[in-house]
């Protein structure tokens, strides 16, 4: 059974109606736990949050200035302006899901959400973290991919999971490669071009190669570049854009394949 399901020869085992009941109870329990911890931490961290608020306000001002400078450059070219308008907000049909169960083992990084085939979800739909603003939905980063679906719940494999491999593109150098999660919770990868080198803090987005992940979803930024033992290639360590420990709401992009 293990072998057959690992190679995809066995259809989804999701307990049918019982699975729906369990997922409903999981959603209720998850909401309760989240409410309790949110109340507890908000009381506990009032002082820290005030300082963080001041720091974040300064950062927002800096970023606004950067955006003004970049928009000034982009708007001078009609082609760039058009592309910028297209990419500003999510252009895919999406559904908002809530995390209802988390894998707490060290071996996997998976979770369950409260949306399924009844909401139009399919296997291999992309899961991202995003925020809804007045101007639309703005992506924060890639969370993972839908692995299995049931009627009203689905299983998601995150980018931290060892079985999750993502084709990326470095925004700065335009070089492509593959990143993969790991049992120890890190995301590492390499470039297809063995001579390509990344610098720290460079941004990586999905490249769309392989047509599993849609292109231009932000994965994270490079934190470390480690030469491999034969020194001919470099292994990059990536910090994901998403804070997985605080994940409760996700956006599922319904991709037509």
């Amino acid at each position: 059974m293990i072998g057959l399901s690992s190679i995809g020869r066995v259809d989804d085992v999701n307990l049918g109606f019982l699975g729906s009941v369990v997922s409903g109870l999981q959603k209720l329990t998850f909401n309760t736990g989240q409410t309790l911890t949110s109340s507890f931490y908000s009381v506990q961290e009032i002082v820290r949050m005030r300082e963080e608020n001041i720091m974040l306000t300064d950062t927002v001002h800096e970023l606004k200035e950067q955006v003004r400078l970049l928009e000034n450059i982009v708007n001078k070219s009609e082609a760039l302006k058009t592309e910028y308008e297209m990419k500003k907000n999510l252009s895919y049909d999406y559904t908002v899901g809530q995390v209802i169960a988390l894998d707490d083992s060290n071996w996997f990084s998976r979770f369950t959400i409260d949306k399924g085939t009844d909401d139009g979800l399919k296997v291999n739909d992309i899961v991202i973290s995003a925020v809804e603003t007045e101007k639309g939905v703005v992506q924060i980063g890639l969370v993972g991919i839908v692995a299995e679906t049931s009627s009203n719940w689905s299983k998601v494999i995150t980018v931290l999971d060892e079985s999750c491999k993502i084709s990326f593109r470095d925004i700065d150098s335009d070089e492509s490669g593959i990143v993969q999660g790991s049992i120890d919770g890190t995301v590492t990868g390499y470039f297809f071009n063995s001579k390509a080198v990344a610098n720290k803090d460079e941004f990586l987005v999905t490249s769309g190669i392989g047509e599993v992940y849609v292109p231009d979803i932000y994965i994270g930024n490079v934190t470390e570049v480690v030469p491999t033992t034969d020194a001919s290639t470099h292994r990059i360590v990536v910090e994901p854009a998403v804070e997985f420990t605080k994940l409760s709401r996700v956006y599922i992009l319904k991709v037509n394949r």
Partner: protein, 163 residues
Amino acid sequence: MKKFGLMAAMVAVSFIFQTSFFGFFDIFGTIPNVSLILVVIFAMMTDGITGGILGIITGVLYDAMLYDVFGVYTLVYFLIGAVIGSYSDSMMRENYTAYCAVTAVSTIAMHLLLYLVLYFLKYSVGNAVFIFKSIFVEAALNTVLVIFVLKLTVFIFSKLNMK
């Protein structure tokens, strides 16, 4: 049969709380495994067959609700429940220290079994050395928590007049 039904219900409830509630309350970055604790307790209270069946129920819930490869946790929990249940007669069930020792060993055994199964499924388990610390922390937490869970289980059974 009534006792078995209660045990199965407790296993299901513990699964729901384990996956949806306890994740908010990690200790030293690790969450104790109450599902495993319950399988150990029930296996020690009963026999190999009951322990194995309860292990299967626990594992099926994990595999069906969280994982895409079906059978990994079913196998692991079944083996733990069946082996503990088979030797439960020769264990000192009245002594809480026995439960602590068995829980600690079971936690390590569970991760070892997972390592073996994932190795044969061609997962890259070479980085498993980085999670040794959290495995030992989990074993320590489970060892402490088993006493409280056992007391709660005995209390529930006595309230419902089950032995």
